[in-house]
C-alpha cells in the first residue's frame, strides 16, 4: 500500500514540478487574482454595505471561481496522458515499475491540485466576505468543499479523456465540450424541453357583480357568473431533474438556505436554489379565484394577496434538495473517465489507437 502511494507521489511530484517551473502558470494565477479582486469590488459596489453583503460577496466569488475553474481546468488536464505520448515521455514511464493506475491517479491528483490553487488564491477574498458578515458556517464549509470536488471532477474528466482520445488538442476540446454540456447544455435542455411540453391551464374567476350595502354581508354581495380563461404553461416540473446535473446548481443547492426577516434570500446560492427548486412545483392547471365568496365571508376582497403565493423560504423548504444527486453523477462521470483511461493506457498494449505511436 505504501509502495502504491509512493508511486502516485512520484508521478504527482513530477507533474507539479513541471508545472511550477513554467512562467505561464504564475501569469495565469496573477490574472485570476486580479479578476477575482475586480469581481469582489464590483459586487461590493452593486450591493452596497448592508446586512446581506457578506453572503452575496461570498457566493458571488465562489460562483466566479467555479466559472474560471471550469475555463482553466480542462486546459490544464486535457492533455495529461496523450500529451506525454506525443512528447515521447509516456513509454519511458510505462517501462518502469509504476502501474498504469498509479500513473493515471498521479496525473489526476496533479491536475486537481493545480485547479485547487485557484480556489486557494481566492481565499483572501472569501475571508473578506466572511468578515463582512451574514455567511453561515454551514455554507462556508459545504460550498467550499463542493466547489473543490467539482474542480476535481473536471480534472478527472480532463485526465480521463486525455487517456481515451489520441490527439491532445481533440481531448482538450472534448473536455471543454463535456464541461459546457453540464454547465450550459443542462440549462438549454431544461428550458427547451419545458417550453416544448406545455400544458393547457384554466383559470376560473368569480368576480363580484354588485354589492347592496343595505343588506347584511353574505346576501348583499351578488356574484357574477364565472369567467374562464385558458392559456398554455411550460411544464418545467417534468425536467427539473436535468438541472440537478448542472455544477452551478450543485454548488448553489448544497449551501444551507439563508433568508432574511422577509424570507428573501441573502446570498446568490439561495437565490439560485430557490429559482431552480421553483421548477419542482407543478403549475396549477385548474385554478379558481373566487373573490366573490371571499368578500361574502370575510368582508373584504383581498384580491391577489401575498398569502396566496409562497415566499422564497417556503419554496425552498417545501421542495427537495438535489445537489447530492448531481454531485454523485459528476463523481461517477469523473471516476468512470479515469477507469476507462487506465484501461486504454495499460501495457503491454493489445490494440493501439489509430495513428498513434506507442513510444
Amino acid at each position: 500500500m505504501t509502495t502504491y502511494l509512493s508511486g502516485i507521489g512520484t508521478v504527482l511530484a513530477l507533474e507539479l514540478r513541471q508545472r511550477i517551473r513554467g512562467v505561464a502558470w504564475y501569469v495565469l494565477l496573477g490574472v485570476f487574482v486580479a479578476l477575482v479582486a475586480l469581481i469582489t469590488v464590483l459586487l461590493w459596489l452593486s450591493i452596497g454595505v448592508s446586512d446581506g453583503l457578506g453572503g452575496f460577496l461570498f457566493s458571488g466569488i465562489l460562483f466566479f471561481v467555479l466559472l474560471l475553474g471550469t475555463l482553466v481546468a480542462p486546459a490544464l488536464s486535457g492533455n495529461a496522458i496523450n500529451g506525454d505520448r506525443d512528447a515521447g515521455t509516456l513509454a519511458t514511464t510505462q517501462v518502469t515499475l509504476l502501474t498504469t493506475g498509479q500513473l493515471v491517479l498521479g496525473k489526476f491528483l496533479a491536475a486537481w491540485l493545480t485547479a485547487l490553487a485557484f480556489l486557494l488564491v481566492s481565499l483572501p477574498f472569501l475571508l473578506f466576505a466572511v468578515v463582512a458578515g451574514g455567511v453561515g458556517p454551514g455554507t462556508i464549509a459545504v460550498s467550499v468543499l463542493v466547489l473543490a470536488v467539482e474542480l476535481g471532477v473536471i480534472a478527472a474528466i480532463g485526465v480521463g479523456l486525455s487517456g481515451i482520445l489520441t490527439r491532445p488538442l481533440f481531448s482538450i476540446v472534448v473536455t471543454y465540450l463535456a464541461v459546457a454540456a453540464l454547465s450550459i447544455g443542462t440549462l438549454i435542455v431544461f428550458t427547451l424541453a419545458g417550453m416544448a411540453t406545455s400544458s393547457e391551464a384554466r383559470t376560473t374567476t368569480f368576480d363580484v357583480a354588485s354589492v347592496n350595502e343595505d343588506v347584511p354581508l353574505p346576501e348583499g354581495v351578488i356574484c357574477s357568473p364565472p369567467s374562464v380563461t385558458t392559456y398554455t404553461v411550460p411544464r418545467f416540473d417534468y425536467y427539473w431533474g436535468v438541472l440537478a446535473a448542472n455544477p452551478y446548481v450543485v454548488l448553489a443547492d448544497s449551501a444551507a438556505g439563508q433568508f432574511d426577516a422577509d424570507d428573501q434570500p441573502t446570498d446568490l446560492f439561495t437565490a439560485t436554489a430557490v429559482g431552480v427548486r421553483q421548477a419542482q412545483i407543478a403549475p396549477d392547471l385548474d385554478a379558481t379565484f373566487d373573490y366573490c365568496t371571499e368578500l361574502r365571508e370575510e368582508g373584504s376582497a383581498g384580491g391577489i394577496d401575498s398569502g396566496r403565493f409562497p415566499s422564497s423560504r417556503e419554496v425552498f423548504e417545501s421542495t427537495v434538495p438535489t445537489w447530492f444527486v448531481g454531485l454523485a453523477i459528476h463523481v461517477v462521470l469523473g471516476a468512470g473517465a479515469l477507469v476507462w483511461a487506465t484501461a486504454r493506457t495499460r501495457t503491454p498494449a493489445a490494440r493501439l489507437p489509430r495513428g498513434s505511436r506507442i513510444a
Binding site: 514540478r17 515521447g88 518502469t96 501495457t347 503491454p348 498494449a349 493501439l352 506507442i358 513510444a359
Partner: protein, 317 residues
C-alpha cells in the same frame, strides 16, 4: 547475471500492416547482439514487445527469464529500454530526471539520488546536471536516455538506435561503455543503422528483413558470393582513376589472373571481387610478388554492412 533474451516465432500486426511476421532470436548474457535491418523491417516493433509495451499476436518471448506479457513487472525490474524517440521532461533538470526515473523503479530517495550522480558521471553529463533537459543537444539527450535505461541496474539492455546523433568521440565512449556492461554479464541488444559501429562491438548479429529474422543458412549463402575488396597502390592517384597509374594496377591484377569483370573502380581506387579471405591473401601475395607497391588492401565494407547489403540485394533480385 540474468538469462538473456529468447524470442521464438513472434509476430505482431497493426490493423492491416504486418510489422513483425516471424522473428526468432537469442541474445546471450555477456554478449552484445546487433539487431540489423532496413527501415520498416520491424526492429522497433520487436523492441517494444521485448520492453513490455506491446503485446505480441503470437509467439513466445522471454526477457531475463520472464514473459513480458504475463509477468511485466518481473521483466521491467530487470530490463532497461532506450527508445528511438528522445522524450524528456523538458522543464526538469537533468539530475532530477534521473532521480525521478529511479523513484519510478522504487528506489528509496537517497539511493535514487546516489544513483543519479553515478550515472551522470558515467555518461558525462555531470556539468549539465542542473540544466533543464530542453537545452540538451541531441547527442546529450541520447546519453541522458541511456543513463535512464541504466537507472535500476538492469541485466538486459534494449537499445534502439543508441548511436544516432552522437559525434565520433561519443560513439567510441558508447562502445566502450556497452562492452563494459556486457563484460559484467549483461545481455545487450542494440539496433542500429550505423553498421560500422556495430561491427566493432557486436559479438553476434540478428538480421531482420520485412519482419522476418533471417536464418543462419541464408546468411551463410549470402556470404558465399563475391565480396569487394579495395586495392590501392603507390602512384595510383585516386583522383585520376581513369589515368595511366590506375590502369597499371588494373593491368597487374589481370596479369595475376583476376578476370576483368571482377575489377571495378570508384573514387577511392579499384574494387576487386574476392571469394573469401584465403582468396584475398593469395591475391595480395601475387601482387606483391609482381612488385606492385600495394598501399591498401582491405574489404570495402564491414562484415555486418556487407551481409546487410547482400541480403537486401538478394531480396530485391
Amino acid at each position: 547475471m540474468g538469462e538473456g533474451i529468447e524470442v521464438v516465432g513472434v509476430s505482431r500486426s497493426f490493423s492491416a500492416v504486418q510489422a513483425v511476421r516471424s522473428v526468432t532470436l537469442t541474445a546471450e548474457p555477456g554478449s552484445i547482439t546487433a539487431l540489423i535491418g532496413p527501415n520498416g523491417s520491424g526492429k522497433t516493433t520487436l523492441l517494444l514487445m521485448l520492453a513490455t509495451l506491446l503485446r505480441p499476436d503470437a509467439g513466445h518471448i522471454r526477457v531475463a527469464g520472464h514473459d513480458p506479457v504475463r509477468q511485466p513487472d518481473e521483466v521491467r525490474a530487470r530490463m532497461g529500454w532506450m527508445p528511438d524517440i528522445l522524450g524528456s521532461w523538458a522543464s526538469l533538470p537533468v539530475r532530477a530526471t534521473l532521480e525521478i526515473a529511479g523513484r519510478m523503479y522504487r528506489l528509496p530517495k537517497s539511493a535514487a539520488r546516489r544513483r543519479a550522480e553515478e550515472l551522470l558521471e558515467l555518461v558525462g553529463l555531470t556539468e549539465l546536471a542542473a540544466q533543464p533537459t530542453r537545452v540538451l543537444s541531441r547527442g546529450q539527450k541520447q546519453r541522458l536516455s541511456l543513463a535512464r535505461a541504466l537507472v535500476h541496474d538492469p541485466s538486459v539492455l534494449l537499445l534502439d538506435e543508441p548511436a544516432s546523433g552522437l559525434d565520433p568521440a561519443a560513439r567510441v565512449d558508447l562502445r566502450v561503455l556497452l562492452q563494459r556492461l556486457a563484460e559484467d554479464g549483461r545481455t545487450v541488444l542494440v539496433s542500429s543503422h550505423v553498421l560500422a559501429e556495430l561491427d566493432e562491438m557486436a559479438t553476434s548479429a540478428v538480421y531482420l528483413d520485412a519482419g522476418v529474422s533471417v536464418s543462419a543458412e541464408r546468411i551463410a549463402a549470402s556470404r558465399a558470393g563475391l565480396r569487394p575488396w579495395r586495392v590501392r597502390s603507390l602512384g595510383a592517384d585516386p583522383a585520376a582513376a581513369d589515368g595511366a597509374d590506375s590502369t597499371a594496377l588494373a593491368d597487374a591484377l589481370r596479369a595475376v589472373g583476376v578476370p576483368a569483370e571482377r575489377i571495378s573502380a570508384d573514387h577511392l581506387g579499384l574494387l576487386v571481387g574476392v571469394r573469401d579471405e584465403g582468396d584475398a591473401a593469395a591475391l595480395l601475395a601475387a601482387l606483391v610478388t609482381r612488385g606492385v607497391a600495394v598501399s591498401s588492401f582491405a574489404p570495402a565494407f564491414g562484415e555486418l554492412e556487407q551481409t546487410f547489403l547482400d541480403l537486401h540485394r538478394g531480396n530485391r533480385s
